[in-house]
Symmetry: C3
């Protein structure tokens, strides 16, 4: 009966439009996860780092880093969605909801919202909306991603192609400010910067200066911590015979490195509120050193809030290339060869009162 | 006076039959240990991963992974038992007792139950029963292991040879089901598999599919976390002049990797109840990729329990060799060259009600 | 406006005598940090390892390892003090104050107490006293360090040279014994050694026997965990063009390794009370194996305490050189080529009652 009990994951022809997938193994997140997140990325954002600063802005404790929440929810979805993915193509319409605190238990549910067989017919693009939910059934995160998934049976009939409509970015009035937050207690000495929402200009570019080199042990520790089972990250023996000849770093690892690096220039971006869009432009491997820069895409007030505003940011990460020259697309739109990540997020930042 | 205060551990001639050794440095285990365990092995068993699922089956919290408990207890014994071991030869009669929760403090005591000088006279086999105890003096684990320990003084007189009687496996009626456990609340959607105790056949073989590569940093972080002081795992400078020329991975690290891999095929084996026997067949080094397969050796009902049953499993781990072909002993009983671990455990699994 | 929001740290000419620097990003330390500290260093000191043993000597919980506290406070100071340091030259007058427990939030403040431009005029020595403070405004640590910091503007005028007066060591009556501590409940079986304060002689040398090899992932995990942003530890791409061609291990990482190794010979040194002096004699890189030895410099009773006394220790760490021969300075005072650390601390140890 072996074979019926193990899984090698879903293939393209296994997905159905509208299908709902309840992902396995809910995960209680703890202060242990928070410490490991700090050890893996070195993040210094003050509200996540310090209970006293979190309390000063009205939160009941230091919330988990928003990307840590993303990784946990994402990890839940991998066995069902992307185990046989050729590539993780993109993200859209990501909204962070209720803050997550140590002790919360997260689970994930996905719905298939788009299907399109590839031109070659050996794979297809699957769009899913994945939702992370806490132990009170409150939404902590909702986002769309699309992946290219292999077919198991090459002549399986293609589904009717459906592409979901996706917003270019999360509208400002859909951003969630955690209940009780009042930034009047925010301390810009202890947060590491006096630059507030008011001080950023649309079009402004910020080089995040520092770089961090990735080790095999780093990214595997991280990816196991998120219970992400994609074998490309873990199995050197199999990877030797594969496309790259080595293990691939989980794309979310690069997102978290870029977020941690962005402290230098965006120290008061105390919360990620939206993942508007994102693309892993090129693969990352152990030994690569990640740098990043950001551009302010939009600066929006929030309805009814004098204490904080939203900054929409484009953050670009590059490998083995310091970002003082802001590596970007060329005139024809081709990405700079060093660029590995192109991420569009919206962050919350205190306003000058 | 130096020398009297430091220790290079016990040698074969230092052990006495019946000797009781109270091991040093009790250890409070925490959510930090749990998070690191997840980061090191990527385990996804739902009851250990989630407070909500643990509560649903009657437990007061998410218990620690059983092998995490083993590693902590084992680590305590190393300075006194196996610091000068040439080889860790085997395990028997291991029983997991009270579940361990974050905040519990574990200590360990061993009794010497067997001694036999080697034929060459330069070492000897020491059998110990080691017991792990929590802060309430409750037994959390008891197991026998035997190790080949060097002699310091080659002409020290040999002890009368004594070999303990050991059961082939822990009898079913000696298995401990944690107090209050009631599997009627077990959720097979969230646990990751619908295959229950009833669905496994004696003789059935399961390939656990995935592989994980070990890095030097991984196994050293783990082994330090368990406060295991065996120098072969840590000291490259000394290892360069030794038998293998490099650091050896702690055998328990491979056990935990095999357990985590076994989720794919045995997701509902929510608790390890017994370590019947076990042998580290070949050394493991950083760079090796570990795969595993299991065979169902026995399927036993438990007295008075309609909600769960016991599966006795033989789990074999191999390096750099995916286990779809179930690598095993050849006709003459010699192990397949890729095999590194041969482990006989009993797990508990929900029954179909 | 980029450039005004990011920082590349302070240069020598930016410091002013008497200047007070409130460092950013307070940090709540947790059981997650404790577990990682154990995983990184393998420390086994019983009071830090076990709530039950901590309670037995009158503490409300297992306190954090003293060096873990040091690393957190030190890390806070790096972005403001030593981001542009050429070298971390020394430590003096370090006093550990209130014990730190999981859940405490630490912040740091430094005062510039010495300035002296280098003879070459391209850098200068900055002395700072850094103080770590908990959420109750209690001092947990105070120490002086001095660093050689580059100048940004080479012809910036030199300050009047000021060198602080520093004690050769912290006086015994300034050592802090945590409130409520009563060593009569100390258990020398569970602590790992029966050697007490009374058993150590001034001039006695102790080889700590074991060695531990450092991996790149180890020291980067540690240094990120302490939120230490010195780029020399993280950025291989930049390091390739630098002085060593590779990443440098944070000096504090070596201190913690030496402390953990010193358990073998000093198991009852249950608390570090003072950092009298210290010097990183030579750089350490991944791949190096660290060994250590200690010498008892002084043995002092503590006023009013019959249960514990102070040992002043000189601990020397060496790389790729076991310390059975106690590698030290030669006749001309030049350090042994294997030596990497020379540390003068005062520890507390139970007395025989």
């Amino acid at each position: 009966m072996s074979g019926s009990k193990t899984t090698d994951g879903a293939f393209f022809e296994d997905f159905r439009l509208g299908q709902t997938i309840v992902h396995a193994t809910p995960r209680t997140v703890t202060e242990g996860d928070v410490a490991l997140h700090t050890a893996l990325y070195g993040s210094r954002f003050a509200v996540q780092s310090s209970r006293t600063l979190a309390a000063a802005i009205g939160l009941p404790g230091a919330p988990l880093d928003d990307w840590l929440v993303f990784h946990i929810v994402f990890g839940k979805t991998v066995p069902d969605i992307s185990r046989n993915a050729v590539a993780n193509l993109g993200y859209a319409d990501g909204r962070f909801g209720r803050p997550v605190y140590p002790g919360d238990t997260l689970r994930a549910v996905s719905e298939v919202i788009g299907l399109r067989e590839s031109a070659k017919g050996d794979a297809g693009v699957v769009h899913v909306r994945s939702v992370g939910i806490n132990q009170y059934d409150e939404e902590v995160l909702s986002y769309v991603r699309w992946v290219l998934v292999r077919k198991r049976v090459l002549d399986a009939p293609p589904p009717a192609p459906v592409a979901p409509e996706l917003p270019a970015h999360v509208p400002v009035d859909a951003l969630v400010v955690p209940d009780g937050v009042d930034l009047r207690g925010y301390d810009t000495t202890l947060s590491g910067s006096t630059a507030l929402w008011d001080d950023y200009d649309v079009g402004e570019r910020i080089d995040h200066v520092d770089g961090v080199t990735i080790e095999e042990a780093d990214h595997m520790l991280a990816t196991r911590l998120w219970q992400n089972t994609a074998r490309v990250h873990f199995d050197l023996h199999a990877a030797r015979g594969g496309r790259f000849g080595r293990r691939l770093v989980y794309g979310g690892h690069v997102i978290s490195l870029a977020r941690a690096l962005s402290f230098n220039g965006l120290a008061n971006a105390f919360k990620v509120a939206a993942l508007n869009a994102g693309r892993h432009v090129a693969p990352v491997f152990a030994g690569d050193t990640i740098y990043a820069w950001s551009e302010v895409v939009a600066r929006d007030a929030l309805p009814g809030r004098a204490d904080l505003g939203a900054l929409r940011l484009r953050t670009v990460a590059a490998k083995d290339h310091p970002c003082g020259d802001f590596p970007d697309r060329d005139a024809k739109g081709a990405p700079h060869p060093a660029v590995v990540l192109d991420l569009d997020t919206t962050v919350l930042m205190p306003r000058r009162i």
